[in-house]
């Protein structure tokens, strides 16, 4: 046979094939990172004798109620907009203050990494909602409460470590969390308005 070299495979369509695959993956890709508000639910109390929210000393409780129309009531008083709620919650959480009978009790604790004793409050934020509240509104309120905690923690971390909270090491963050533990309780469901 005459020398017949094997013909080279034409690779020019390779690009087309690759493009096709590329476009397929481009279209099907959902690069959504799942984000959300982290929460810890309270365990179901094993015996009924445990302290319920109502028995917590009144000055230590910050009761946020959201009704089915999305209105917010804090300790029996209307709050008109979300910004006010954040400021008000911050005032409640803050323990860098003098003793005040209208604000929660405080106790002195020692925290690793911080010199001397620091004050921490015994306040608990309790969030109640109606069955008819929309989920969107509920999350807005949750968000405001978490934001209040985050801002307060940020202030504390600037005071003790001269750095924003996000830039602290894990131990330092732990110390700040010890001063300001996030106590937002999602109360046992109650049905205010009868049927939804």
């Amino acid at each position: 046979m005459a020398k017949r070299s094997t013909p080279e495979i034409n690779a020019s369509s390779m690009a087309d094939i690759a493009f096709l695959l590329l476009i397929f993956f481009l279209v099907t890709t959902t690069m959504d990172v799942d984000t959300g508000i982290q929460r810890q639910l309270p365990p179901i109390p094993e015996n009924k004798d445990q302290k319920t929210d109502a028995e917590v000393n009144k000055r230590n409780a910050y009761l946020v109620q959201v009704n089915s129309r999305g209105n917010i009531v804090v300790n029996g008083e209307w709050v008109n907009n979300l910004e006010d709620l954040r400021e008000d919650a911050k005032r409640f959480i803050n323990c860098d203050r003098d003793d005040d009978p209208t604000l929660p009790e405080m106790e002195e604790i020692t925290v690793e990494g911080i010199k001397g004793t620091v004050k921490t409050s015994k306040g608990i934020i309790s969030l109640q909602n109606d069955r008819g509240t929309t989920y969107g509104r509920y999350i807005e309120v949750q968000n405001e409460l978490v934001a209040a905690y985050n801002e307060i923690r940020n202030e504390a971390s600037k005071k003790y470590f001269n750095k924003p909270y996000d830039e602290l090491s894990d131990e330092q963050q732990g110390a700040i969390r010890k001063i300001y533990p996030q106590r937002i309780s999602e109360a046992e469901p109650k049905n205010y308005g009868g049927k939804e």
């Binding site: 695959l21 799942d34 179901i44 929309t134």
Partner: protein, 159 residues
Amino acid sequence: MAVMGKKKKKTLGAISTASLPDIVFMILFFFMVSTTMREVELMIELKGSDLPTATEIKKLEKKSLVSYIYVGKPLQQYQKIYGTEPKIQLNSSFAELSDIYEYILAERAERDEAEVPFMTTSLKVHKDTKMGIITDIKQELRKASALKINYSARQDMGY
């Protein structure tokens, strides 16, 4: 191009496209690796914009340890059978409240025992849903002692 060798005169050759497939393959691999295909077909109305927005959100880490609960209005094609009231979807079927307990136990059984405490339940809920059903779900989760939850929300881009 073959003619080029014979002529002494230098002409500008066509730009070589030989490396084009390589480049495209590179992009392709990037997308293949970063792609997360949606595992469940949603049977409820829940577009990205239907999730509530929030500013204080955290990234959900370790996706393999997350179980999802979807709540929302059934899609148009299911409304004849299931009505328009918000329904719960677990995996790829509608479920009742009482199924949540079983679902959590099943999810837990699939994981390593050491990882169980780190498991999170992500609630993906349409923002117009009424809290009644959410409260019930939360009670079910407490019963199953799946206490770590995540209210799925989008980043709020400012007011």
